[in-house]
Symmetry: C2
Subunit: 331 residues, 2 copies
Amino acid sequence: MSELRKDFVIDRWVIIAAERSDRPHDIAPATQPDPTEPCPFCAGHEAMTPPEVFAYRDRSTAPNMPGWRIRVVPNKYPALASAAGFSHRADSMYEFMDGVGVHEVIIETPRHCPNMAELSDRQFEDVLRAYRQRMVDVQKDPRWQSILIYKNQGSAAGATLEHVHSQLLAMPMVPREVAEELRAAKAHYTAKRKCLYCGIIESERADRRRIVAEDDAFIVFCPFAPRFPFETWLLPKRHSPFFHTVTEDELRQFAGLLRQSLRRLDSAAAAPFNYVIHSGPLKESDHEHFHWRLEILPRISKIAGFELSSGYYINTVAPEAAARNLRDALP
Amino acid sequence: MSELRKDFVIDRWVIIAAERSDRPHDIAPATQPDPTEPCPFCAGHEAMTPPEVFAYRDRSTAPNMPGWRIRVVPNKYPALASAAGFSHRADSMYEFMDGVGVHEVIIETPRHCPNMAELSDRQFEDVLRAYRQRMVDVQKDPRWQSILIYKNQGSAAGATLEHVHSQLLAMPMVPREVAEELRAAKAHYTAKRKCLYCGIIESERADRRRIVAEDDAFIVFCPFAPRFPFETWLLPKRHSPFFHTVTEDELRQFAGLLRQSLRRLDSAAAAPFNYVIHSGPLKESDHEHFHWRLEILPRISKIAGFELSSGYYINTVAPEAAARNLRDALP
């Protein structure tokens, strides 16, 4: 079982995947597959993963058999496990708890494909529907304060299997990045009586230089201070703290814009990337100030000593130029 | 000239290296050298870098000619520049300023060498003396609030030239990671009337499981919640907020332990790595709570979607096992 440990001073928890820690000479991450094995995410290899917890599949087919379009399975090497206890121990310097949580993998297509941009609109819709459904189900467990959904595509972005997939991770705390954002968004709301992100949408629409695309429900733009070249954010125009409350109409529009955004990136700067959904903390009673979004984070530049010691970033492509290129990338 | 831009909500500044932003299809970082060119850091190629600002060299030799052991030059592609203005503009959502600061490169040997662990004790001492000297000089400019010193070794750690070198970056603000640490350390000091890091040293020495090495002036250990496999911290036993106040005796001991630590890492898990010196903010009036240190951050695992969206880390090697391996790595 893994263990959650908190840094001595800052609000930074580390998940120590303990099962490998007695074999420390084996420095490969626990999730590294044997490259000579067949792909565990391809149709026909269902037995290579833990049993599915959810799938979109043909009516006549049985679970854990071919016939699926999307398949959700527990992570075979979970960073956090639901069955773990919930003991929390702390003194003035050392704080830790059992690695309790949920860690699932969303397999996005039954056919081997390393590039999500090649999936169809229909497949994008299915992926987003699966996210929504799993978030709705997982958030029923009152132990979780936060659900992260993220994708690693390409080895430099941390993917260990190339078959397109994403991950869901539910945690018993609000992670540092979300907590800080929440704090700042609350302060803004208290001062202005208005959601910060609704204000950003207004002001980016007035400026236009950083906008990549938009429709009546969503805006796609390069943020003012992007960490990475071609970093792109997708925000809903309707104020809503939670991704999992998107309507069916919104979901279809969002699927179209997400697919288009990944195809733009693929054409402008084919690169490994992460995307992450920032959705509101589940236990917050007040939801006026948090506004969900999806961030696409291309991994063209490296995270180096400067970034690790400062928490700041160096980016060689201004967002105004990145947006211009992404706009031009698809006619 | 580059530009500093602040994120909409959190205290995260991004340096936009603007000179490349009009060529956004050229996605290579601005620091990427042409691989067909000779190494600009080797003796004999002094003209390939900007003129040196400091060097340890034979008495009979002229600046910017061979005969040096350590050479410090301005970064040819500076993220921040000292000549920039100091205008700071902000409204409720967009905050930015000119990219003002200092960005230097410390070239650690005249002979081409890609692995710092292969340098001699004497060379390590010279490198650390050069850090100290440049910090003493650079901090005289009252514009800088913080000086970072860091090393990127290996492409996965962000190095663009393999010849061993490190970087100094002075900034007009206290970076996020340092500010948060300072806040927490202050709170601890106020509650306990004792430096947090002095307490960590005591408690790690009592526990012993995470200690790699120590002498009378320094302790080397794997921290309780390490972000990376084999992450190692070097802390001075004497309470001191600033690296640049080390004495000559301490510097020699520190050089020996740093060299030994990198050789241990090289032997246990040869890997790209960063090291970073956390030294106190220059403008703090109260120095009871900050305690300088050097962190070695091996880049065995990737920073992926989980880390970028949460600010947390997954580490597959427990620090107790890492310390055991590092201890055993050098007899």
